[in-house]
């Protein structure tokens, strides 16, 4: 055996020995250590979550560092300008589309505004006074009648004075019905009423003293107290009414408030070419347009409201509330040209936000434009165009030489001579907007002068507002037959009663228990389904989608002394006349396509046959806005539709 072979054997042995030792150590470790003998990994849930969290944090830290590093990377000036210009061009294109649309909305609303203001200037100032007369006269009559009755049935030393004062008050109301809001007449009216109140106060004391002598005669006490209560009620309601009214000179009734600026009618500066403007300039152009649209809309809506509710124009301006612009943001502070990648990102995000803001402005402008189109056709009538035969509650319509169409429709909506059954179609045909309905208008200008030519009702003197009483109006029958529906087709096999079950409802607004529509709330100015307003007891109210499973619709968050609004839309394949049945607890007003078609008064229970109106729906989408004022306890309303043929 040579030395080489011997060395190889020694090395082999060494390897075997070392291997054996290692295996032995491994075996010992395996036997002695439990952890090495585990066949599966078991871990605590908390440990896993903790490790995940740590890993995530580490990853975020790395990402943040990378981002910071990236954001601090400086850009070459030329590159930065080129990139920023590309971003700006891309965002500017989006803004330009919206701004062009807003320009057309502004032009359209300015036409509506000019037409409405023209209508206001032609309104007879006596109309406003007559609206107070309409509400005051029944109360004054009730006061005088009950005071006389009081004097007859329970004469006391003060009772003739009460009757005399009430009678003088009534005579004054009747003799000055078209001047009731003139400050000197109004003051005298207040003084006369104060006298009546004092006399009745004396009578109350005298009656208390007299009744002390026959406390045991319950029937007599009840009878006398009832008469006294009737007088006191009428007296208090008159106080309330006079307290709400604001005297105004007849010369000021149609005058706009000092802050109002009419749109410029002469040649204006040429609108800048949008393609020449930078993104911040486009943003400001959109803001300017929005303000112009808002201003025109407020003025047109105020004039419309003044005509419809027969109120002074300044009061109507106070009542309208157009949606404000979105919260302040200005792209002026954006870094240009961006120096680093971070600034470039900031620039991009800023412009994206600017586009979003312009979209919001456009959205609100679009809503105002659509609403403007809806009420554009109302209230344009002047004295000589006042529809003869329109429902007037007291036959005093001639006192002021006629009234606006909106006011006529409003009065007819309340029942007028027609009572429960009133045909509102003449007002809707004569004053309604084009067939597109809410939001369906195809743009373009509105020629206010042509509306009167669309209907034969206007000058023919044959406006019929009273319809003959339908024959099939059993409440039980209607409830049994009615089905929900909002799309109507002539070819539909369904011809009976349909009820509106789907509404957007907003409320409660505080009405302090007065269910007289005197106070208006923002939804009456404009229906904006994304808006929120301060409501009752400091809460914020928003439009809530509400679907009712039966005819009666109960507003969500129902409460006493509150006002709610309901908004919905219905679709008709073609222009269609329909009969609507309205029931409300308590009072309600309904506008269809901006025309007031229904109104009731006082705390009344829900009755399905409370009132019927014959109305006309345009082809396409039609808007329905309902206001319900709740007095005490429950609040419910229903709106049903039926073809007139089915019930006549």
């Amino acid at each position: 055996m040579n030395s080489t072979t011997a060395n190889r054997r020694i090395r082999l042995r060494t390897v075997l020995v070392v291997s054996l030792v290692l295996q032995t150590v491994g075996l010992v470790l395996f036997v002695s250590c439990d952890a090495l003998r585990r066949t599966r990994m078991t871990t605590e849930q908390e440990d896993v979550l903790e490790r995940n969290r740590e890993a995530r944090e580490r990853l975020e830290l790395v990402e943040r560092k990378k981002r910071e590093q990236r954001e601090h990377t400086e850009l070459k000036k030329e590159d930065a300008e080129r990139l920023a210009r590309n971003i700006e061009r891309e965002q500017a294109e989006k803004m330009i589309r919206r701004i062009e649309d807003m320009r057309s909305i502004r032009d359209e609303l300015e036409q509506v505004e000019a037409a409405k203001m023209e209508d206001i200037t032609r309104r007879d100032p006596a109309e406003v006074s007559l609206s107070l007369y309409d509400r005051l006269h029944p109360l004054a009559l009730a006061l005088a009648t009950n005071a006389v009755h009081q004097d007859t049935t329970q004469p006391l030393p003060a009772s003739p004075a009460v009757a005399e004062a009430a009678s003088v008050f009534l005579r004054r109301v009747e003799s000055d019905r078209s001047r009731l809001l003139e400050p000197e007449v109004f003051d005298e009216l207040q003084a006369l009423h104060d006298t009546t109140r004092e006399r009745q106060g004396d009578y109350n004391h005298q009656l208390d003293d007299a009744q002390a002598g026959y406390r045991g005669d319950a029937d007599r006490l009840r009878r006398e107290n009832h008469i006294e209560y009737q007088v006191n009620c009428a007296r208090d309601r008159i106080s309330d009414l006079l307290g709400q009214a604001n005297p105004v000179m007849s010369t000021d009734v149609n005058t706009a408030p000092p802050f109002y600026e009419p749109p410029e009618s002469g040649p204006t500066d040429a609108a800048p070419d949008l393609s020449d403007l930078s993104a911040p300039e486009l943003f400001h152009e959109a803001e300017t347009l929005f303000e112009a649209i808002r201003s025109s809309f407020e003025a047109a809506r105020a004039a419309d409201m003044a005509l419809e509710n027969r109120m002074p124009l300044t009061e109507a301006f106070d009542a309208v509330a157009a949606p404000p612009p979105p919260s302040g943001f200005s792209p002026d502070q954006l870094p240009f040209p961006p120096g680093t990648v971070g600034e470039l990102n900031e620039y991009r995000e800023g412009l994206t936000r600017a586009v979003q803001n312009v979209n919001d402005l456009w959205q609100r402008a679009h809503t105002m434009g659509a609403a403007g189109r809806t009420f554009a056709g109302i209230g344009s009538g002047t004295g000589e165009q006042s529809p003869p035969g329109s429902a007037q509650t007291d036959g005093q319509g001639g006192a002021g030489g006629g009234e606006s169409r909106g006011a006529s429709a409003a009065r007819a909506a309340g029942g007028g001579d027609g009572g429960r059954f009133v045909d509102m179609t003449p007002f809707m045909l004569a004053g309604g907007s084009d067939g597109s309905g809410y939001g369906g208008g195809g743009g373009g200008g509105i020629d206010m002068t042509h509306r009167s030519q669309r209907s034969g009702y206007q000058s023919s003197g044959d406006m019929e507002t009273v319809v003959r009483e339908p024959s099939r109006l059993s409440e039980q029958e209607i409830i049994k037959e009615a089905l929900p529906g909002r799309r109507f087709s002539r070819s539909s096999t369904r011809t009976g009663w349909l009820y509106i079950d789907t509404w957007y409802v907003i409320g409660p607004f505080e009405n302090h228990g007065r269910v007289d529509f005197r106070q208006t709330f923002p939804p009456e100015t404009l229906v904006d389904l994304d808006a929120s307003y301060p409501g009752k007891a400091g809460r914020t109210v928003t439009w809530q989608f509400h679907q009712s499973d039966n005819i009666r619709v109960k507003p969500p968050d129902e409460s006493e002394s509150s006002t709610y609004y309901g908004y919905t839309e219905v679709y008709f394949d073609e222009t269609t006349e329909m009969m609507i049945a309205v029931a409300s607890d308590d009072t309600a007003r309904i506008w269809i396509n901006g025309v007031r078609v229904w109104e009731d008064a006082g705390n009344s229970p829900w009755r399905l046959d409370e009132g019927f109106r014959k109305v006309v729906f345009n082809q396409g989408f039609n808007t329905i806005l309902l206001r319900i004022d709740n007095g005490p306890v429950t609040c419910t309303f229903s709106l049903l539709l039926c073809p007139p043929d089915a019930v006549m």
Binding site: Q363, G439, G440, R487, T502, L529, D530, F545, E569, Y571
Partner: protein
Amino acid sequence: MRINLQNHEGNDEDIPLSPLIDAVFLLLIFFLVATMMKKVNRDIDIELPESVSAERLAPTDENRVIGIDADGLVYYEGEPASIQSLHIRIRDLGISDPDMQIRLDVDRETPTHRVIEVLDLCRFNHLGNVGIRTYDEFYNR
């Protein structure tokens, strides 16, 4: 035997690379353009409900996606939309293309009334082809 790879002049034969590069570039451009043509659909943060019986449909861009997140906020084609603007868009769609498929991406925590509201809106505007997207293990992976 040896193959003679030399030409008559004695130079090595080259594979012509220019056409190959042209083809590769054309393919690259094709894929770039095809990717850009794909409709941009922004992700919205919603957790879809699961369903075992949902019909599996091939993904398509020929639809309109309305998303509603857990807070009831609405998205139209991945962008935040107000209720008013949703009404306008759905109305326009109902007039211009009533057969358009509407896909509702709704979070499992979304208030039901909001879903009903959107469904009712579609139905009122004559859009009958409405489907609700559910979680799909393969598609949503």
